[in-house]
Each structure stands twice: as structure tokens, then as C-alpha cells.
């Protein structure tokens, strides 16, 4: 029992990342009808927003402290971050410590901006082109974004720690009556899960309960009619693209402490997220979220030793296997609408 709960928990954080990326992908596909292979790159950009903010905040100047000497006998140089000198050592160091959550605020405008530029500058011209062209051009864009990041940040993963407060693990098992240290779960992953749930709820709430969201949903159902009613649906779809980019970016920001960001993390996630979208059903938002969590949990279950002994290597391929089966028996996915991209 404890093993099952542990795997369930382990699946949640990966599942949250899948769900968030797949949600963004589906938003873009559902609104604009574009298959965005650069979405993984947006996720990666988000993670690098966190890296950048952490670097900016820990910019420091050097002062010479004559009272101390370093190992060569020279006066020791002490680095003081600017932030600490402005806000005092305590507040300053806690600002640096909290740079990842702060990066959320930093990332939202950046990612929305990136989304706008991408949609207006490039994707706009590809609405009428076949899906293959859309895949190809966004694939090219993904390579470009990835390489630009590599130019600036190098090829190595950059550790981006979470705030001290969230280090360590939460003893989940004691709540449920297990022995201590059996079911433990890192705090940050718990935070990630709740954060993802919050974002997902926000996106759904936005679409469901605002006029803007209503118009967007109408546009997803029948773009032409909404246009005929005198609503500028293109503008709203552009905004939705920005929001989708921001969702991917936020997923990346918060993921940075879990896995140190490197320039190809987006590509690694992209393939899986596409599979998630397909399993959930192209164009179905609840489907994407559901499939994200389901596949995340499935993946962590299949990496249990007991299962690996029976079916070696199953953890590596389970997601693809599920996707293949789903595509063959139920091509519109778990919650896809009938007739949407079914052939």
C-alpha cells in the first residue's frame, strides 16, 4: 500500500508538468489549429527565466576586507550581492533565496511577449498551410530557440535551487498512519503539484467564467461564425497564444528546481507532451490535463522494481505504448470531440 501511494505521489509532479505543457499545446491547437513543435522550447525558456532571475539577483560587487586574509595571505575579497546591500542582508538574502518563485512574476510578461511575437511574426502566416509545414517551421524555430539559449548559457545544466524553506521532504506516510520515512515526498514537488493545479484551474476558470473566455470557446467551436458576428477573433486567439506560452513558461519556471535546466530539456518534454495531447484528444483541454496526470502516474508505476522485473524496460516505453494503443483503438483520444482530426 505504501509503495502504491509513493508511486502515485511520484507520478503527480511529472504528470503536472505534462499536463501543463499539454494544456498549452491544446490551447494553441484548439484555437489556432496550429501544431506547435516549439512548445517544448517555450517550457525551456520559462526554466531559463528562473535561471536568469537568479543570476541577476545574485549579481554582486567585491569589497576588500582587510581584517581577513585568504589562503594566499592577500586581503580577502568578499562578494556582496547588490540586493543585499540595498535591502539589508536579511531581506536581501531571502530575496535571492526565493528567486524561483519570484521568477514567476518575471516570466509571465516575458513569456506572453514571446508568445505574441511568435504568433504575429511567424505562426500567423501558417494557418492556411498544411500541418506538415506547421510542424516543420515550428521544429526549425525550436532548434533556433534552443541554440540561442545554448549560446548564452552553455550546454551544461544550471542548478537552480528552490527556497530553503522547501528543501527536505514531507513525511506523507505519518498522516496516513504508516511508519515514518516510508512515504516521503520532497516539499518542492508538492508545491509544484499545487501550483500546476492552480494554473490549470485558473485557465479553466478564465475560459469558463469570463466573457473573453466565452468568446474564445465560441471561436474554438466555430471560428467563422464568431467572426461574422463582428468579433475580432484573431486578436483573441493571439492573446490565447500568449497565455498558452505563459502556461508553458510557468511550468518551466517551477520545474527548474526539480531538474536543473539545460538547453534541450524542452525537446525531451515536447515529444512526451505531444503523446499526452494525442492520448487526451486533440483539442480537448480536460483531456490534456487528465492524460497528463494519468500518463505521469502510469510512468512512475511502471518504474517500480516489481513491475520492471516482470517486464524489463517497460518504464521507458509505457507512454509510447499507451499512445499507440489509444491511437489505434480510439483515435480521437480519451476526451476528444467526435470528428476532430480523427483520420
Amino acid at each position: 500500500m505504501d509503495v502504491i501511494i509513493l508511486q502515485l505521489l511520484n507520478g503527480l509532479d511529472k504528470g503536472s508538468a505534462y499536463a501543463l505543457i499539454a494544456l498549452g499545446l491544446t490551447l494553441i491547437f484548439g484555437t489556432l489549429g496550429v501544431v506547435n513543435f516549439a512548445h517544448g522550447a517555450l517550457f525551456m525558456l520559462g526554466a531559463f527565466c528562473a535561471v536568469t532571475l537568479q543570476k541577476i539577483l545574485s549579481l554582486s560587487f567585491e569589497t576588500v576586507d582587510p581584517t581577513k586574509t585568504d589562503f594566499l595571505g592577500n586581503p580577502a575579497k568578499i562578494k556582496t550581492p547588490y540586493v543585499e546591500s540595498w535591502f539589508g542582508p536579511e531581506l536581501g538574502s531571502s530575496i535571492i533565496d526565493w528567486s524561483v518563485p519570484l521568477a514567476i512574476l518575471f516570466a509571465i510578461p516575458i513569456m506572453i511577449g514571446v508568445g505574441f511575437v511568435m504568433e504575429r511574426g511567424l505562426i500567423k502566416h501558417f494557418y492556411k498551410r498544411p500541418h506538415a509545414d506547421q510542424i516543420l517551421v515550428t521544429f526549425g524555430l525550436a532548434i533556433v530557440i534552443q541554440e540561442v539559449i545554448k549560446q548564452f548559457y552553455g550546454a551544461n545544466p544550471i542548478p537552480t535551487p528552490a527556497p530553503d524553506m522547501f528543501k527536505g521532504s514531507f513525511d506523507f506516510g505519518t498522516l496516513l498512519g504508516f511508519d515514518p520515512n516510508v512515504v516521503i515526498y520532497p516539499y518542492w514537488r508538492l508545491v509544484y503539484f499545487f501550483f500546476a493545479a492552480l494554473i490549470i484551474a485558473a485557465v479553466f476558470g478564465f475560459l469558463q467564467f469570463t466573457t473573453f473566455g466565452m468568446v474564445v470557446r465560441a471561436g474554438m467551436a466555430d471560428r467563422e461564425t464568431v467572426g461574422l458576428l463582428g468579433i475580432n477573433i484573431d486578436k483573441r486567439f493571439t492573446i490565447m497564444f500568449g497565455i498558452a506560452a505563459a502556461v508553458a513558461g510557468l511550468a518551466g519556471v517551477m520545474y527548474a528546481p526539480i531538474n536543473s535546466p539545460n538547453y534541450h530539456m524542452g525537446m525531451d518534454f515536447l515529444v512526451l507532451s505531444f503523446v499526452v495531447v494525442v492520448v487526451g484528444g486533440m483539442g480537448s483541454l480536460p483531456g490534456a490535463v487528465l492524460a497528463g496526470f494519468l500518463l505521469g502516474i502510469l510512468e512512475s508505476f511502471s518504474s517500480m522494481n516489481e513491475i520492471k522485473q516482470i517486464l524489463p524496460g517497460i518504464d521507458q516505453i509505457i507512454i509510447y505504448l499507451v499512445a499507440i494503443i489509444i491511437l489505434l483503438v480510439r483515435p480521437r483520444g480519451l476526451m476528444g470531440r467526435k470528428g476532430v482530426m480523427e483520420d
Partner: protein
Amino acid sequence: MLGLEKKDTSLLIVVAILTMCAPFILNPFPADSALAQFNAGYPDLMQRFVIFGIFAIGFNILFGLTGYLSFGHAAFLGVGSYSAVWMFKLLGYNILPGIFLSVITSGLFALLIGYISLRRSGIYFSILTLAFAQMSFALAYSVLTPLTNGETGLQVYTSDPQYFHSDAMPNIPHLFGQEMQSTYTLDAGAWSFDFNTGYYLCALIMLGMFYLAIRIFRSPFGLMLKAIKTNQTRLNYTGLNPRPYTLAAFVISGMYAGLAGGLMASMDPLAGAERMQWTASGEVVLMTILGGAGTLIGPVLGAGFIKYFENIFSKINDTVLHQWFAFLPDGIEDFLIAIVHPFVGKGWHLTLGLLFMAIVIFLPGGLVEGGQKIARRLGLKKAKDETPAATDTTPAE
């Protein structure tokens, strides 16, 4: 000639002359000159030109003719490489059995994957093939280690059986005693030209494959594949079942990929899982699009183009740039180098990505269409020759 139209015959002859004279054409600069870094006439690179040429020709039979975009073709290349290396391990270094087995296994593998993937079309097909390729990659990396030697990559060890290996035969890949790596260097004044056995073998095979591709393009079968690309619905309504045709195209292109993989292993008896990764599949897509999907010569051009510039661009570093811009005043020199620096050397992929985007956006027909446009602009072609580009994918209704 050979059952080809006049135009195709001349194309084949041009390609044959180009590949046979490649050691000369690719080494236009004297060996010691500053421009020698633009030479591409060394055996390793020339072999890659033709091998990736074969890969791209095969991919084009699927993507160019039927319009089905496979994102998992590298899996067949990988399977081909593994089979060839296994033949080396079991039978000996003669490359013939290896190449045969690589074509057969990749064909069977393609039959299996194609049978499943082709039940869907459009983006679903792309994702299915992608999923299969990633699955094979993951399996080759982990569980199938006894077969693939995992991360290390499959290679031939001295302890391997090699049942048909005789001591008279060389201990590296060879064809009846002709070593693949043997190179004859011709020094002509300041120039030096390399003639490599492996290259010429690959080049001959590529010519054969190119001829086969022309025959497929011009056959009723090829016409059927084009019909699938143009309007599959209409084809269904005429009472034809397109699936056997697409499956045949898929298997053929998988076998081409397997052949390329087998040749790759024959030139360098190694096979690694990274050959199957989806970025490798993306590369062949790039080559085909860059050259011109659906055209005969396009994929070969694209493969040569990408491999050439990959090699040249990644060799350029800051020292080379300083040499180039040395004639400029210091400030401008440093400025120019700062601009160019991100695009060369390790940044070659950035250039590739930009180039690729530019091609898809502005020139969906690739280099071939670009060439045609330029030719038309120059008035070399008459107006009536302006057949719509073969890459036109919009349905007729």
C-alpha cells in the same frame, strides 16, 4: 536509356559524373592554401554525403510522393546499422551479408511499424512514427543492451566468433578483400585528391538507388503515390484502397534507410543508439525539405548541402574569423566577429535552424524550386515550361 526518359537519363548521367568526380570537385583549393578548409574531398565526409543521400532519397519516396511526414525514420537507419554490425560480429568483416541483412531487417521493421502507423494520417501519423522511433531508441538504450550494447554502442571485438573470417582477409570492413578505408591519394602539384574505396562503393550504390527512385517516380505505382498526396479522399471515392500503396512506399523508404545504416556501419563498424533519436529523424526531414521534397534531385542536394555546411561551419572558429577579417580596422573586425561568432563553430545548429525556417517560410519547394525560380528569372526557361512545382500539396477542391 535504361528505360528512362531523355530528361531523366541526363539527370542520372549528371549525378553519376558528379559523384564519380567528387574527389576532384570537392577539393578545388590547394591543400596548403588558406581556403583548404573549404575542401570537402576527404573520404569520411564524402562517404557521409552519399550515405545520407541514400537516406534522403528513400525518405523522399515516402514524404515527397505520398505526403506522409514520418518523424521516425532514423529508427530504420539504426536498425540497419545494428544488423550490419551483428553480421560483422558473427560472420566476419565482409560487408555484403551485413548490407543484405540491414536492408531485410529494416524492411521487416518498417513493415511492422508502417502497418500500424499508416492506419492514421496527417499529424497522427507523424506522432505515431515519432513514438515508435523514440520507443526503439529507449529500448536500444536500456533493455535491449544484450543486442545493442546500450550506451557504449555495438562494436566488433576480437573475441567475437566471425565464423567466415580467414586470416588472409583484412581485419576491417572489406568487400572481398578490398578494404573500405583504403585511400589512394593523388598529388597533383599543390592539390591532393583522395580516392577512397568505401566512397566509391557507396557512390555506386547510391547511383543504383537513385536510378531505382527515378523508376519508382515514373512508374504507375509512383503516380498512385502522387495521387494519394494530392487528394486521398477522391482516390477513396474512385474505389481504390490507398493503404497498400502507402505501406509499400513506407517499406521501400525504410529499406533505403536501412541500407544507409548498413553502409554507415560498413564504413565505420560501430552502431549506437543515438542514430535512432528523433533529432536524427528530424535531420533527414531537414535534408529532404531543404533540397526540395517530391523532386528527384532535391534530397541528394539537401543531404550534400547540410553535411557540407555542417562540416565547414563547425570548423570555423574565432582564429579563422580573425584571419578572414584581418584586413579591416580592429574595431570593425571585432564587431564583425562578434556578429558572426554565434553562427559558426559550435553554433552551426543555429544557422541550420534559421536556414530551415527560411526555407519552409519562403521556399517550400526547397533549393530545387529556388533554382527553378532563378532560372526562370534569367529567362532560361520558356513560359510554357512553368509546370507547377511538384511540392504543391493543396487539394484540388
